[in-house]
């Protein structure tokens, strides 16, 4: 894979890389693409994708009741910057 294409994926993930790190990531993706060639040998005609290991027939609806509520202070206690009960961050637009 070309490094330019790898950079597109890194951009999407809000990462960047260059030099040895970019080469490592490129090489890693190439390795998975190589592994994926084995999947072409399997007949998947009329096979549905498996989202989970087995079918989940969950027909359970949780009662709509308020519980385990976190306080504003709790929600914000791991934030680097706060202001008036909000997370403060660099201007987006």
């Amino acid at each position: 894979m070309e490094k330019d294409e790898v950079n597109i994926y890194l951009d999407q993930l809000y990462y960047s890389a260059e030099g040895e790190e970019l080469a490592f990531i490129t090489n890693f993706i190439d390795g998975v693409i190589e592994d994926a060639k084995h999947l072409d040998k399997v007949n998947i005609d009329n096979v549905l994708p498996a989202d989970w290991p087995f079918d989940l027939e969950v027909s359970y609806l949780r009662e709509d009741e308020v519980k385990d509520l976190l306080s504003c202070e709790q929600v914000l206690e791991n934030a680097s910057q706060t202001q008036e009960n909000y997370v403060k961050y660099i201007k987006v637009v």
Binding site: A17, E21, D35, A36, V58, N78, A79
Partner: protein, 487 residues
Amino acid sequence: MYRKTIKELHQLLINKEVSPLELAQMVVADLEKQNPQLNNITNYTPLDGYENIEVSDNLLSGIPYVMKDLVSTKDILTTSAAQILKNYKPVYDATLYNHLQDAQCLMVAKANLDQFGIGGTNENSIYGFSRNPYNTKLTTGGSSGGSAGVVASGSVPFAIGSDTGDSTRKPAVFCGIYGYKPTWSLISRYGLFSYAPSFDQAGIFTRCIDDIAIVLEAINGPDEKDTTTLIHQKEYFYQNLEENNKPLKIGYFKSLIELFDNPVVLQQFNETKEYLQSLGHEIVEVDFSLDLLRCVRGVYQLIVNAESSSNLANLTGVQFGEQILGDDFTSSFVATRNAGLTKYTKARNAVGAFALKEVNKENYFIKAKKVRRVLIEATNKVFNDIDIIMAPVANGPAFDPNVEVSDKHSDLNLVVDNHLTLANIVGACGISIPTHLHDDLPYGISFMAKPFNDQLLLNFSKQFETNLLEKDFLNLRSFYNTYKEVK
């Protein structure tokens, strides 16, 4: 207190030979003494309130343990071995932690890991890799390396890990202990840092089968916070634990075993088969497509990394985590994530972004999910006729993580190094058990049973363990009873 089981420690507590707080303090002292050499601990838990723990009939009351550092524990540092979470204290508890709290069990420390469970050598950690108690130049394996190390070194009777590919079962045997991966969805994943939800499951490390059953009984059960658990009732694995006394049909994949090339491992495998036959079990060679086994790693990489790239998208440093500010929003996000996560985690996430890209999605991500179904159906077909599938855990013992792997696409690396992941693909339960000591390093066997056959697997493992010790088969009693001191 060194190397005692849960039941042995419980008896000491009941007899008031030691208090829960004293026991926790002794364990912490032992961990602190060993950690400079073993590097299995990321941080220690405050022991506040442990003086008020009352020992009850519950076998887990007052018992110390170590938790993999990716399980949410309110107000207690939980770093996942990632720079971005170096100072993170969760605001809620994981359900499995709550179950252990309810049992008055005492968490004393958090264990080293490959960050978020991403890795198999424990090198993907800001703390460096966990070192194997049998030889500190070698890794414990990963991703739950620290959890394996603390149980192997004798400090605690059990530790909690997780198993997305083989992250409990492989490090367990590399460290000469037991590793259990329950059926997917048996234990709530609420609070287990989400890596790949359709593969993730908490795992258990112990030094005996009884302790697996005791812990599994405590932490399993439906949880409305993880709706995938709602398909079953709570199970009582310890109450129902009994040595299996029925002849079982135990199969092995011929196509897999033929790829192992380590004569020591093959000799051990043959000895283990003979041992199982001596217990009355039938050993059956199973035809399982090598082409399918060659897909295990690809299916894992494509699905797990797609799920992971989505799950780790919340690591931005905005609401939590270490934040680095740039000139604008985008440069701030990039700087924060670049500094907060390793290149290996980035590479894994990049695979996910590649697989999910619209032009690639059908040919990679969806195809992988279809092949996953083929693997599930093929494995279930085997389970129609076979009770348990066995295989050596690995083609060798614990290794030096600094030695580069040659030819990553050979069948030895592609298939043999990844066969345990089949259990995660199909949601099956699996256990790894140490069986041999060769050149002072442990080796072992893996057993897998179909989903929700955990009780059968535990009862079978109990029979396997009891006879192994009583008959001193393979001279293992000395191995089990004289665990290695840290070198």
